[in-house]
């Protein structure tokens, strides 16, 4: 690369500035390519596969309603329990078969993924926001405020999310909005614990001292000086908690207290397919494979992210 740059800059007066710009651009791409994040993901085969799978599901989670050619929730009684078949006309054939009331499994898997993935991502982000703020307050303030916050965080371990969701479903009945609120309100504990610990250890560092000495308010110190240091560990935790929330949503729908039918959800499709294992294996296998692939790719990306960032430097 260095040789190329020299050649470019020595190639005469005419167009020299242009070739320098090209060289500079090229080296920018080279820099991006060599950046440890990109190297960590693209040049490590499992992470690369995971990235493709996750992107695929995320793409369909966002745009599935505009792409799918079948109605995910409308029964077509003439088409019940058709096995998967591959045809030339992609749109007119049930690529992954149909279920007991003739709905297209491929369409329902994509739409179910949309529910699970968006719920997982928004839930994890909501929990992250709550957890970081409370954790930093607990780490900064200590005393009775910190202890109160951390006991509420402990509470979420004592009654894990899945079981709390069952309790809430018993009172309010199942529903998407309730799940979303619950995922944010009952899953911030791990974020708070990490933020509290890190804030506590960063509190006595020189840069905090320096910020304080020039008269920065505690709020400013915490958000402008401490928060950036929490970014990497929180990102890793966020990716894992997306996977956990997707599994929890699927578990709840599987148990019949998550997303109410006929809305497609991976867990609900599995619960339905379980009864037809001997006749129509694809009913359960396809949503099951979809959720396993999605969770595997998030876990692999999270693992890789942790290795690439190496959060040890912060702990």
């Amino acid at each position: 690369m260095a040789d190329e740059e020299n050649n470019d800059s020595q190639s005469g007066d005419f167009g020299a500035s242009e070739s320098v710009i090209i060289a500079a651009q090229r080296s920018t791409w080279q820099k991006i390519w060599n950046h440890r994040m990109v190297m960590g993901f693209v040049r490590y085969p499992p992470a690369f596969v995971a990235l493709i799978i996750a992107t695929f599901f995320l793409f369909f989670a966002l745009f599935a309603p505009f792409i799918v050619s079948w109605d995910p929730n409308k029964p077509v009684l003439a088409d019940t329990l058709q096995p998967p078949e591959w045809g030339i006309m992609f749109n007119s054939v049930h690529v992954l078969g149909t279920d007991t009331v003739g709905r297209d499994i491929f369409t329902r898997t994509l739409m179910g993924g949309r529910t699970s993935i968006l719920l997982g991502f928004t839930g994890a982000t909501g929990a992250l926001s709550i957890g970081v703020v409370l954790g930093m307050i607990a780490g900064w303030k200590r005393g009775i405020v910190g202890a109160t916050i951390m006991r509420w965080a402990d509470l979420q371990i004592a009654l894990p999310l899945l079981l709390m969701a069952l309790t809430v479903a018993a009172v309010f009945g199942p529903g998407l909005h309730i799940l979303l609120i619950l995922f944010s309100l009952w899953f911030w504990g791990p974020y708070a614990r990490i933020s509290e610990g890190l804030t506590l250890s960063l509190k006595n560092r020189e840069f905090v001292e320096a910020a304080r000495s020039i008269g920065a308010t505690p709020g400013r110190i915490v958000f402008r000086h401490v928060l950036p240091h929490l970014f990497s560990p929180l990102l890793v935790l966020w990716s894992f908690s997306c996977a956990i929330l997707i599994i929890i949503e699927a578990s709840l729908s599987f148990l019949g207290v998550g997303i109410p039918p006929p809305t497609a959800s991976w867990g609900g499709m599995l619960a339905e397919g379980r009864q037809y294992l001997h006749r129509a294996y694809w009913l359960a296998m396809i949503p099951g494979a979809a959720i396993s692939m999605m969770v595997w790719s998030i876990n692999t990306l999270g693992d890789r992210l942790r290795d690439v960032i190496d959060q040890r430097q912060y702990l």
Partner: protein
């Protein structure tokens, strides 16, 4: 030194348990009038008033809460709104059934994950890589899908094992194998990570230098250090174990505690689910206290408070 630390842990857990009682009480009151919720508007207004008085729902919320607390303190967790049996009796009966599945599963994954994880850490190469790939996949397949895969292959296709019912030992294999799937994968990875990190420590080199056999180096020096975080995780994971037991029971139609919780949630039987929630909370908190205690027993540094 372990006394004051444990006293503090027990005190903190008691606070968390009290918070749990509070949350369970207020969540169950948040949806409005419990009488309306239970009867679903199917009875006369005068009847509603009568029921409200009978259950004490006409009193202010804090009085109801006080009454709720004193009843719990006396061991009265209320009656199921569907069967009118005391909730504690129902829970007791079902927990016995679940224990038969959870305890063997717990022992299985503990006694498998430690040697497999060690092996994967010591033998880097193909065996280690294979164990890691399998365990990452194992960690990604949710237990409800794993159970369905087992049923499909071992019961529907091969017809080796029964799916539902109880009686012979064969009925236990699939549920226990399903329940083991996720924790086995998780602990294998955790043990491997801990062991390979401990292997790089100075004291391991010392132990080898003084001529100890490799097995003894691993058993006496590496494992004792590597297993500490594993034990803590196990304590915290009691809740996860109960959660997966609940799903496995649903797959295999096992009439245990998990099925009771799901039934209670579906029929909106909230006295029953409050009792279950409290039991789960107590188990999880006890689990993490026991783990802390075990940690102290294994690690002399903590025992001596240095």
């Amino acid at each position: 030194m372990i006394g004051p630390v444990m006293a503090k842990r027990v005190f903190q857990s008691a606070i968390v348990l009290f918070l749990l009682v509070t949350v369970l009480f207020f969540v169950s009151r948040m949806s409005g009038d419990p009488v309306l919720m239970l009867t679903e508007g199917a009875i006369e207004p005068e009847e509603i008033d009568k029921l409200r008085k009978a259950y004490g729902f006409d009193k202010p919320l804090y009085i109801q809460f006080g009454r709720f607390l004193s009843e719990i303190a006396q061991g009265d967790f209320g009656n199921s709104v569907r069967t009118f049996e005391p909730a504690t009796d129902m829970v007791k009966q079902r927990v016995g059934i679940s224990v038969k599945m959870v305890v063997p599963a717990f022992l299985t994954y503990i006694f498998l994950s430690i040697p497999i994880g060690c092996l994967a850490a010591v033998k880097r190469g193909a065996i280690g890589a294979f164990a890691m790939v399998v365990s990452l996949i194992g960690q990604s397949v949710p237990s409800f899908f794993l159970g369905i895969l087992y049923i499909y292959f071992f019961a529907v296709t091969l017809r080796w094992l029964p799916v539902f019912g109880s009686g012979s030992w064969e009925h236990y294999i699939l549920p226990i194998a399903t329940l083991c799937g996720y924790p086995l994968a998780k602990y294998t990875r955790l043990v491997r990570a801990q062991v390979s990190e401990t292997l790089t420590m100075e004291f391991v080199r010392t132990a080898r230098a003084k001529g100890l056999h490799e097995v003894n180096v691993i058993r006496r020096h590496v494992l004792r250090n590597a297993l500490l975080p594993v034990i803590t995780t196990m304590g915290v994971d009691v809740g996860t174990l109960i959660g997966s037991a609940l799903i496995v029971e649903a797959i295999f139609a096992w009439p245990g505690f998990g099925t009771l919780v799901v039934e209670a949630a579906k029929t909106r039987d909230y006295p029953l689910i409050q009792t279950c929630g409290l039991l789960i909370g107590t188990l999880v908190l006890t689990g993490s206290i026991i783990a802390d205690f075990a940690y102290g027993l294994i690690d002399p540094r903590i025992r001596r408070g240095s």
